[in-house]
């Protein structure tokens, strides 16, 4: 993974000093609340419901084992001994003391970490595929470009005060695992017939209050021009994005208002002027960064391993885990492993300090000392030998990291919700737990197959409920917590937004409703059909009929 040189280190050290001074001036009353807010947000610091929240950046999801150990140490010394992985690769600490934050940032800087631009109206952490560099269907490894974009976007002087937050995602695979179509800018790396590298650029996607799938701004931008192309988009947005109403301030509103054709024309006009400037990439810089992502020293291994096959044949629990949590690798004899942070009854995405250390140990022992964060709020060890899987599973199970539910109904994407988040309409973690309790039978879960259930505690949609096969959204009705349910959303190449099925439910009703939805699926399913395919084949009517106990007919719903 990328290692800082002296320049990177100096920049984050200077950032720590800058924030320490800003915090001192804030405490001394020399910076007002309003003046300090954007400054602290651009250092990931929120003032939350019970305590401040600090969002630590995990750039494009990569973590080294020594960084995990430092995070564990910080979680113990400055927090309540755990952290929460968000859907954007970042780690959130829910209980730091305000006055400790400068010290926490200084600690992070010692392991080349920071909280830069994890919040605020600026370019946020760039997300990508947790299987980058190892996925068999990968066309181009997105990590070098992700790092180049990280550097370009860190303290970009022109784009620190945008109308609203701005999120990038990059995908370099045939199958999009980075959800590029629901980001402000989505970059899909491609190779053309001549073997050249370039990108398809999407803009104006986003979830939140007004969920919109992005539009293609350009089908082909040569790799060396990707940054200047993105600068052209950002400059247009910075100048013309709406600032009068924060609900209409995301770039998606500008794209809609201009129409994609006019938006594209303006971007191209700006790009024509800046295309070949000092910012344009060159081969040597690309290679300098790319060499940090060279493949580790893989052994030459056979595609099969007898000990692994024996273990799988004799340990059904191991076999189930392999089915759900082990993924193909482009190198013979290797696999990628997902460590589930979705143990039933825990807060989805939460990880204790001891677990962070376990992951660090497992990474050192089995995966070249590295781990990755998946946007589904799980961790990935990307380079595990087939022969080591059984041992790894045993240790992961002891650490509570081997729940074999990846991709299943209980692998719930869930935001922190009303238990922590000041913006929440409703709690989300107890809903996730109630559903996990209702579907606690693993055999049954396996039979149901792939189901993505996503929960957000409010319209900000941090839990990506719009793209869940089943989406649950916390809404406020007369001061109490209700949950609106949608069906049919999906991510990936066929990204689609779910549709609301009807009136919202009280918290205690939600598990019953999910059970009814699943019952319809089980009755109607043909063979091994997936849940999402059944929803798409049948439409919402039979689900509505079962849930609301009325004959299927069109009803007025509000999104």
């Amino acid at each position: 993974m990328y290692r800082y040189d002296a320049f990177d280190q100096q920049l984050i050290d200077e950032r720590v000093a800058q924030f320490r001074d800003q915090f001192r001036r804030y405490q001394a009353g020399q910076l007002s609340e309003d003046e300090f807010r954007p400054l602290r947000l651009q250092n990931g610091l929120y003032i939350q419901r019970h305590a401040p929240m600090l969002r630590i950046a995990v750039p494009y999801g990569l973590l080294a084992s020594h960084q995990l150990r430092k995070l564990a140490d910080i979680a113990r010394r400055y927090d309540h001994g755990y952290g929460h992985f968000s859907t954007r690769h970042n780690l959130q600490l829910n209980w730091p003391k305000l006055e400790d934050v400068p010290d926490i940032l200084a600690e992070l800087a010692t392991v080349q970490m920071h909280a830069i631009q994890t919040s605020g109206n600026c370019v946020r952490n760039i997300t990508t595929d947790p299987f980058a560099g190892i996925a068999p269907d990968e066309i181009i490894d997105p990590r070098p470009l992700a790092e180049i974009l990280r550097q370009w976007s860190s303290f970009h002087p022109e784009f620190a005060y945008l109308p609203r937050k701005f999120k990038f995602a990059i995908n370099g695979c045939q199958h999009d695992r980075a959800v590029v179509r629901v980001h402000d800018i989505g970059i899909e790396l491609l190779r053309n017939a001549a073997g050249e590298t370039g990108a398809k650029i999407w803009a104006g996607g986003g979830l939140g209050r007004t969920p919109i799938i992005g539009e293609v701004v350009s089908d082909w931008v040569p790799w060396e021009h990707i940054i200047t192309y993105c600068e052209a988009i950002l400059r247009l947005y910075n100048r013309y994005g709406r600032r009068d109403n924060s609900f209409k301030a995301r770039i998606k509103i500008l794209v809609k208002a201009l129409g994609i054709a006019e938006f594209r024309r303006q971007v191209e006009a700006e790009f024509a002027q800046t295309k070949s400037s000092a910012t344009t990439l060159d081969q040597s810089e690309y290679e300098r960064v790319a060499k940090h992502f060279q493949a580790p020293a893989y052994e030459t291994l056979p595609a099969e391993n007898t000990a692994f096959e024996t273990a799988r044949a004799t340990h059904p629990a191991f076999a189930e885990w392999v089915k759900r949590c082990v993924h193909p690798h482009r190198v013979s004899g290797y696999r990628a492993v997902t460590l589930s942070l979705k143990a039933h009854g825990g807060a989805p995405g939460n990880i204790s300090a001891a677990q962070m250390e376990s992951v660090a140990d497992l990474a050192d022992r089995y995966s070249f000392g590295e781990a990755r964060v998946a946007h589904e709020q799980n961790l990935v060890l990307a380079d595990v030998r087939l022969a080591d899987l059984f041992e790894l599973w045993r240790s992961a199970r002891e650490a509570g990291l081997a729940t074999p539910n990846i991709g299943l109904l209980t692998d719930i994407i869930c935001c922190p919700g009303g238990d922590f988040c000041a913006l929440a309409n409703a709690k989300s973690i107890p809903i996730a737990n109630a559903i996990q309790a209702r579907f606690d039978n693993l055999d049954y879960l396996f039979d149901l197959g792939e189901i993505a259930l996503n929960i957000s505690g409010c319209m900000n949609s941090c839990g990506h409920h719009h793209v869940g096969h089943i989406g649950i959204l916390g809404v406020d009705k007369d001061g109490s917590e209700w949950y609106q349910i949608s069906l049919g959303g999906s991510q990936g190449n066929a990204t689609r937004l779910g549709q609301v099925i009807g009136r919202a439910f009280a918290a205690h009703e939600v598990p019953d409703v999910i059970e009814k939805i699943i019952a319809v699926f089980v009755e109607q399913r043909e063979g091994d059909e997936r849940f999402i395919d059944v929803v798409q084949r049948l439409g919402l009517a039979p689900f509505k009929a079962r849930v609301y106990g009325i004959p299927a007919k069109e009803e007025v719903t509000h999104a």
Partner: protein, 199 residues
């Protein structure tokens, strides 16, 4: 009194900024709240206000709309080198460019930050310097604070009127927040990887 920053040092401010009378500022409301950050392209003032505005003698920075509407009367002042123009955060610099053959006829152009969080001025400054060839003073006025000086300078501002309640002197350290930024911009016009051999 040295209450102004020129370049990165304290200086005396030789220019006065002519503002619209407070009553003329049209109130935009949305859901009962006053809109601070108006949509790009909004009209700054009506023709009556513009026509009624008294224009004092001496070095003066006038609103963009006043310059556009009263060019005939103001051209001699421009020729004498005592007229500058300032833009609202929601105005577009291209409207000013359209009025002259050479943007460097203006000794001063100022950009008003209605709030420091309104970032339109950063892109405008970069355009003025890099695209439109403006070389004279580019001044930040309005809600100008210490913690934004570094980025303002990077984008091409070279003069700053700090908000009146803040110490200009104490703000000077803001220019030194970072020593080697990553990007190319106006000030430091090459990206880090072109400036240094990197590890």
């Amino acid at each position: 009194m040295l209450d102004f920053i020129k370049g990165t040092t304290l200086a005396a401010n030789e220019w006065k900024t002519l503002r619209y009378p407070p009553s003329a500022a049209e109130e935009h409301k949305q859901a009962g709240k006053t809109v601070v950050h108006k949509v790009t392209g909004t009209q700054a003032a009506d023709m009556e206000t513009i026509a009624a505005l008294k224009i004092p003698a001496g070095k003066l920075i006038v609103p963009l709309k006043v310059w556009i509407a009263r060019q005939e009367e103001l051209r001699p002042r421009l020729a004498a080198g005592e007229l500058g123009v300032w833009c609202e955060s929601f105005e577009v610099i291209e409207d000013l460019l359209a009025t002259v053959d050479d943007i460097n006829d203006f000794p001063v152009i100022a950009w008003d930050f209605v709030r420091f969080t309104d970032g339109r001025g950063y892109s405008t400054a970069a355009l003025l310097r890099q695209r439109y060839g403006y070389r004279n003073e580019l001044r930040a006025i309005g809600d100008v604070l210490r913690d934004q000086l570094f980025y303002l300078r990077r984008c091409g501002f070279d003069a700053y009127e700090l908000r009146a309640d803040r110490s200009t002197d104490a703000a000077l350290t803001g220019f030194a927040d970072f020593s080697e930024p990553y990007q190319a911009s106006v000030h430091i016009d090459q990206p880090l990887w072109r400036r240094h051999i990197r590890g």
